[in-house]
Structures are given as C-alpha cells and as structure tokens.
C-alpha cells in the first residue's frame, strides 16, 4: 500500500511525498493528488521520492501527467531524492534524459 502526503509550503510550492510502492494501483492515486494540487492553484510541485521504495512505468506515467498539467498552468513539477531502485526505472525508459532528479526538496525550485 501507499500513503501520499501532501502539503503546501509558505512559498507556494506543493510538496508531495509518496511513501511505499508507487505501482500501477498507486499511480492513479498519485495522478489524482497531482491534478488536485494544480486544480487548486498550486502549479509548482516537488515530488519527494525519498520514501518511494518501488516505482513502475505506470508511476512514471502519473508523474508525466502531473508534469503536463503543472506546466500548462505555468508551473513545473520536479522530483527529488529518488532511491537507486527508482533511478533505475527512470534510466530504463530514458526518462532520466529529460527529467532530472534534484538532490534536495527545499532547493528543487532554485534553478
């Protein structure tokens, strides 16, 4: 099972923390969380993946979907602190070539 924490920082950046396995079942949940955030005006989002133990291509799909709506709303979606197992999934689909993971949640939007 997965737990997805969401909070919005003082600087208006939404932080999403999926804890556990981000698989095809959890992907839809993540998709909804991201859509809600953008829908309520938070278009700058950091997904903190430090506690995401597993990720599959459906999870990647949800991240891309969130990225699309964030950019359309004039913001962006950044990912931070993926564990090695998750990084491997990014590499398998070449997603690492387009979406760079940040080392830190707080500074994810600094550049």
């Amino acid at each position: 099972m997965i737990e997805i924490d969401v909070h919005t920082r003082d600087d208006g950046i939404g932080v999403v923390v999926p804890r556990g396995r981000l698989n095809m079942v959890a992907a839809r949940q993540l998709k909804e969380v991201l859509a809600d955030l953008v829908g309520t005006g938070t278009s700058r989002i950091v997904v903190d993946m430090a506690e995401t133990t597993f990720l599959d291509s459906s999870g990647l799909g949800a991240l891309i979907g969130g990225l699309k709506s964030a950019r359309q709303a004039g913001g962006d979606l950044r990912i931070a602190r993926p564990v090695p197992a998750v990084t491997t999934v990014f590499e398998l689909t070449n997603l690492d070539r387009v979406l760079r993971a940040r080392d830190d949640v707080d500074t994810a939007f600094d550049d």
């Binding site: 095809m24 459906s58 979907g65 990225l67 398998l92 689909t93 070449n94 550049d111």
Partner: protein
C-alpha cells in the same frame, strides 16, 4: 530436435536451394531480353515470389509448437477490455457476458468509443464496467481503436489485460490458459488464434486463417516475433506503459529539437524583415536567437530536456514582456509624433489625414511581426514540450502510426527487448464478415495498416530487433506486395497465347527441370507445416485479391508520403441485407478472368491453324487453367449468401480451424 522439425528443416533447405538454383538460371541465362517489356516484369515477379518463399521458410525453420501452457499463477490482477465503437448493443453484451464468466478472477470493461448511453445502461445493469474517452480527448486526435485502448489503460490498473474485439466471445478458460506464460518476467504479450464460428466448412470468403494462426505465427514465435493481432491477446501492463514512457521521451526529444530548429528560422526571418532603425527589437530578437542556440547546445551536452525547455520558455516570456513594453514605448513615441504633427499642422483641415498612411502600415508591421515571431517561438516549444500539446494523453502506449495499431505496438515492444508468445489454442469464438463487401473492406484495412507500418517504421532498420525479428516483420509486409506479382502472372500467359511472345528464351527441358521440383517442394512444405489445416483458400485469396493489395499499397503510400486520407472505414460487424450479387466489387478480377479465357481461345485457334508450338501453347493453357482455378474463389465469394447456422452442429468446435498445439 523433433522428427517433425527435422523434416521441415530438410524441406525448407531443399526448397530454398532449388528456388535459388532456378532463379539464378532465370536471371543469368533465360531472360528473353528482346521482349524485355514482359520478360523483365516476369523475372521480377518470380524473384518476388522466391523471396516470399524464402521468408516463409525462415519462419518454418524455428516452428515453435508450445503445447500445453504453464499453469496460471494465482492472485494476478487482470482487466478484460472489450473494444467497441458502433456494434449492436446485444452483440457487445453477448461478448461482455462471456467475458464476465471467464473463470480466472478479473474485471470486465466495455470500452465504448461511441459513448452510447444505452450501452452504458446495459453494461451497468449487469455489473460490467463501462469506459469512454475522458475529457482530455475533447478536440484531440482520437486514433481509433489504439486511442480507445490508450484511454482505458489510464483508467484501470490491472497487471494484465485481455483485449477482445466486440465480436470475439471468450471461452471461460482463456486466462487460465495464457497467464502462465507471464511467469517469464520479460513476456509482454500472449496472442491466441482468431477463429470464426459463422463460417462454413468451405470458407468461401477465406475468413479463417489457419496457416497464419498456426505455422506462420509459430514460426515467428520461434524467432521471438509472434505478432499481436489486436484481439484475443493478453498483454502485460508494465510492458505497454514502459513502451509508452520511452516513446514519449523519444518523441519529446525529437519534437523539441525540431521546434528549436524551426524557431531559429522564424526569428531570423523576422529579423530580416525588420527596418534598420529598430534597435531594441533587433536586440530582443538577437537575444532569443542566442537563447535558442544555448538551449540546443545544452541539449547536445546532455542536460535534462525539461530543465532546458523550462528555462527557455521563461527566458522567451521575459523577452516577450520587454518587447511588448518596447512596442508600447514605440507606440507612445509614434503617438507623440502624431500629436506633435497635429500641433504643428495647427490647422482644422490637417490632423491625422496629413500623415502618410504607408508610414502607419509600416509601423504596425515592424511592431507586430517581431512579437508575432516571438509568440510563434513560444507556441512552437510549448506544443512539443512536456505536454505534447497536440495529443490527449502524453503517454500513448499503443501505437498510433497505423490504422492497425497491433503490429506497430508489438514491433516496438520487441525493440525494447520484451518477449511475445503465440499460444495455438482457440480460446475465443469470433464472427467473420458474411458478405463480400465487408470482407473486402476488412482485408483492405489490414493491408493498409501493414503497409503504413512498413513505410513509417520499416522493420529492417529498427534498432533493438534481431535480424530474424526484422525479417519476420518484413515478411508479412512483403506478402502484401503480391498484388503486383499477380498482375504479371496474369499478363504473361495472355501475351504468349495472343501474340506469341515468350518471356523466357525457351521452354526447354532446362526450364522444366529447374522449375517443377521447386514448385513441388514448395507445395510439399505447405503440406507438411499445415499438418491437415486447409491452406488452399489462403493461397487463392493471396492472388485473387490482387486489386485490394495494390490499392492498399498505393493508398498507404499516398497517406504516408503525400498526406492523403486512407478512406479508413470501421469494419461493419453485422450482416448487410443485399438482394443482388455484388459483381461490381470484383470487376478487375472478372476482367482478368475474361482476358485469360479469351487468350486461351485465341491460343487454341492459333494452334489449330498451325501458328503456335504445341509445348508453348500447352504450357500456357495450363498456366491459364491454374490462374482461373485461383480466381474461381471470387465467383464463390460473390455468390455466397451468408452463413446458415443449421449447417453446423450446435456444439461447433474448431473443426477445420487451428487446433490446440500438438506437442512435438
């Protein structure tokens, strides 16, 4: 190696050697160059046929008869998808009920592309899921069945999905007999046969494909190239999603690269049109061009694309804001000039009328065209950036490059290193078209789809495929070129019988000694691999539908390279009410038959008056007879009045169709 496979390989080898021997001799020694206009087409058609035969042999070399499947593991999650667009509600519901009754635990969904309230009501009344396109699809390209499946993929979450056409009624054991293969973690797809219940034993429309759903698929399977055929297949979601994500990355990369190239041209062209005194605007355009160059360099250096595009978009937006401000300043300055002109004129008859109108024109030109250019740049990059603005979903796992999404999707899965399997057991009972017109539309659509893939993603040059996989995909595409060869096979005997021109140098012993054994061995190979399945109907249709194959080729060419429509039509699943026979649908075939018969008569007359050689006329008459035998199927097809259910017992089994794989 089993004795069967040993025998097959021996025959494949001997057939190939005989064929190569014959064709080498044909090219080297027997082309009648003085009649090149028929001699060259004939030897080319024969070369085509030999390549076809070699590719067929290559498949048979690794014929894989899988026999009983591994047991299905418990606790997998499965979605059963029934794709429909406009089929009658009852037909869809019959399939849906059977799907619901599949033994292995699963969820059943009707994917209703027609978005019909009565379809939804019928589904929900029986506890069956109903899905239609999400709001994301409004105003976007729909991509037919591929789009329908892509939409459903993102609304469900089972590990596996069974894909069914609306008229393919699954048997309760279909998942139990297929899920076991997925214990191999790299297995992406298991295809089972499409077999039709509403087809009489003699199969006048050639609906069953016992050779394809049998040895041909088993041969491809041996090379890990078993095809996905759109229905009756189980697919691993992870494989499709991985494909979707990696395609997405590739397309975004390519799209952004192109957008930046175009953006540079737009900016340069805007700058060329700029009057020399527009210093600020020129600086702005220069800055954007610099940013474009930076962005391209960053991509080349391997910086993450989304970082590059995000920064670029912000920079361009910044420049645009400054440009708008500059424009306003210019406008303001111009207005001041206008006002001062007014003041200087100081005459009630002067005013704005004294200003040259062309100066105003020029002003609007120089003010808006750079801004227009900048906005174009922004729009360009936005269109191809993360969102893939022109598509409903960024992730499109099922390929949308062809009207038959299945083959392209499967090929892409193979390029990513996934495996596929063909399980040779009928696990669904389908409905085939029962009239000639519907059948012709369906065959045209399949052929067009295949040729589209050949033009758009030629398997011979796809990275990630083994050589054999490339050839297995190419072989199916190659087979659709038979329409052109058929033209030659009709023309050659007609030419000889009517005007006595022989495309080969002589009908010598040499000729027959080389040709006949090859033809015999070729048929023997068919006979052995078919193992009792009927193959004659398929052989007939592969030549008799020559106008369809030619049309598929020309229309797909026009579609891919000239941007024309394919006149794509959804295959109707219901019987058409017809009173007369549709002879007009097969005019080219009737013409061909008429020509052949006419030529035979002329040939006989020429023989009677002592003008022709007995051997030549006799051989060509035999050839005509063979052609007519092939085309006779068209007459049967036109006269076919649809399926009479009483003609088969109530518990109709596969009968002449594919049977469960015989363990070798």
């Amino acid at each position: 190696m089993s004795r069967r496979l040993l025998l097959i390989r021996t025959v494949v080898l001997v057939t190939a050697l005989l064929g190569l021997n014959y064709l080498t001799w044909r090219w080297m020694f027997s082309v009648n160059w003085s009649a090149w206009w028929i001699a060259v087409p004939l030897v080319l058609a024969e070369t085509y046929s030999l390549v076809d035969s070699l590719l067929f042999g290559l498949g048979m070399w690794r014929l894989k008869e899988r026999g009983d499947p591994p047991p299905a593991p418990p606790d997998r999650t499965v979605d059963v998808f029934i794709a429909t667009y406009n089929e009658p509600i009852e037909l869809v519901m019959a399939t849906a009920r059977a799907a619901k009754a599949i033994r292995y635990p699963h969820r059943t969904w009707i994917l209703d592309d027609g978005n019909r309230p009565e379809m939804r009501a019928a589904a929900e009344a029986e506890g069956i899921g109903w899905l239609t396109r999400s709001a994301d699809w409004a105003g976007m390209p729909r991509h037919a069945k591929a789009g329908n499946l892509n939409n459903a993929l993102l609304q469900t979450d089972g590990e596996f999905m069974l894909i069914l056409d609306a008229d393919q009624i699954p048997l309760p054991e279909i998942l139990d007999r297929t899920l076991g293969y997925f214990e191999d973690e790299r297995m992406a797809l298991v295809q089972t046969p499409q077999w039709f219940v509403n087809v009489p034993e003699e199969d006048p429309l050639g609906s069953q494909a016992p050779l394809f759903y049998g040895p041909i698929q088993q041969g491809k399977d041996g090379w890990n190239a078993a095809f996905f055929c759109g229905s009756n297949a189980v697919i691993r979601r992870e494989a499709l999603m991985q494909l979707g994500v990696s395609r997405y990355v590739g397309e975004v990369e390519e799209g952004v690269r192109r957008a930046l190239r175009t953006a540079r041209s737009v900016i340069r062209s805007a700058r060329r049109q700029l009057p020399g005194d527009e210093v600020e605007v020129r600086a702005a355009l220069d800055e954007i061009e610099g940013r474009i160059a930076e962005a391209r360099a960053a991509l080349t250096a391997g910086e993450a694309l989304f970082d590059v595009t995000f920064r670029f978009q912000q920079q361009v937006a910044e420049v645009r804001r400054s440009l708008v401000a500059a424009d306003l300043q210019t406008m303001q300055a111009d207005l001041e000039i206008i006002a001062s002109l007014d003041g200087i004129a100081d005459s009630p008859d002067g005013g704005l009328a004294t200003i040259d109108l062309s100066a105003l024109d020029q002003m609007t030109q120089r003010e808006w065209s750079p801004l227009g250019a900048v906005e174009t740049v922004e729009a360009l990059v936005r269109a191809v950036d993360v969102g893939r603005g022109g598509e409903a979903q960024p992730i499109m796992p099922l390929a949308t490059i062809s009207v038959t999404e299945d083959m392209a999707t499967c090929m892409r899965l193979h390029t990513l290193g996934w495996r596929s399997a063909y399980h040779d057991e009928v696990l669904a009972h389908g409905l085939a078209p029962e009239d000639l017109q519907t059948m012709l539309v369906q065959r045209l659509r399949w052929a067009q789809g295949t040729v589209q893939v050949m033009f758009r993603e030629n398997p011979l040059v796809q990275k990630g495929l083994t050589l054999a996989q490339r050839l297995m995909y190419f072989s199916t595409m190659w087979s659709y070129l038979s329409g052109f060869a058929a033209l030659v096979y009709i023309a050659a005997p007609v030419v000889y019988l009517t005007i006595g021109v022989l495309p080969v140098q002589a009908l010598s012993t040499d000729f027959f000694v080389r040709l006949v054994p090859f033809l015999v061995l070729n048929q023997l190979l068919f006979f052995i691999v078919a193992a009792g399945r009927p193959t004659w109907r398929g052989q007939q249709y592969s030549l008799a539908l020559f106008p369809i194959w030619i049309k598929s080729f020309t229309s797909a060419f026009g579609n891919v390279f000239l941007g024309r429509s394919l006149d794509f039509a959804v295959t109707p699943k219901t019987k058409r009410e017809k009173s007369g026979h549709d002879w007009h649908l097969v005019k080219p075939q009737l013409w061909a038959m008429g020509l052949l018969v006419g030529a035979a008569v002329i040939g006989l007359v020429r023989l009677a008056v002592g003008q022709g050689e007995l051997l030549g006329i006799g051989f060509n008459l035999l050839w005509v007879a063979f052609d007519l035998l092939i085309f006779s199927v068209i007459i049967r097809a036109v006269r076919y009045r649809g399926f009479e259910p009483d003609a088969v017992p109530a518990d109709a089994g596969p009968g002449a169709g594919p049977t469960p794989g015989v363990p070798a």
